[in-house]
Symmetry: C2
Subunit: 137 residues, 2 copies
């Protein structure tokens, strides 16, 4: 299963860049940067759902419902870490975002990527609040 | 990257059984069923931590602090799903637990397992409340 340190580093750089690019669009109200890098079988958790979402169609419907509603002034990925094998990798980080309304939110995030026909795609997303409230102002 | 359907089913059965066995011990106040199946580089999120925990030593310290404090009368893994490649697999489920105090808690869970020298080990755990409150009585 082992991949070399240089392979690990290359995988990490690739998927962290993908995540940052999707988060840049996210912060401008465009969730579809994520949809474009999700696999059809993606599963998804966030604190507002009653259960896990299953598949790209359920996730797309959620993202359609919040399109244009997120406005982030700046964000930070704290200590992103990637644990990888040849064709799957898990990215974890703490995310801090300051909205244009000056409210700061703090999140835990786990993204699992799978390499499908050479392209890394998200197969699992889990967002939760860091500590239950998650929000300070 | 592809693994056959039968390989996927075998991996799924293995890791769901491991998770259930660890949760059985967890519900009796023994978190160390999880420690025994974690890799040294495990990372961990739950709603009570200020940041991601990094590595088995940080997780062990947390679990030492709650040993004997959890008492679950019954629990259910709702719709467990496994997405696997040859040497990594992500298990997701909603977890509902009824404590011996009759309080029901509802959680989202993501476990990532990696096959290390033939043995599946947890490398990432993410627990969060289903909906922010997570608890009903």
């Amino acid at each position: 299963m082992t991949t070399s340190n240089s392979e690990q580093a290359a995988i990490a750089a690739t998927i962290i860049d993908m995540e940052r690019a999707a988060l840049e669009r996210w912060g401008k109200g465009d969730p579809f940067g994520f949809i474009e890098i999700c696999a059809d079988d993606v599963v998804y958790f966030d604190p507002f759902q009653e259960r896990r979402l299953n598949g790209i169609d359920e996730l797309r419907a959620l993202y359609e419902s919040i399109r244009g509603q997120v406005s982030i002034a700046r964000f930070d990925l704290i200590d992103p870490r990637v644990q990888a094998v040849a064709d799957m990798a898990v990215l974890t980080f703490n995310y801090v975002a300051e909205g244009t309304n000056e409210v700061t939110s703090r999140w835990n995030c786990t993204e699992v990527f799978r390499r499908d026909d050479g392209a890394w795609r998200i197969v699992q997303t889990h967002w939760s609040f860091t500590r239950p409230e998650g929000t300070t102002s």
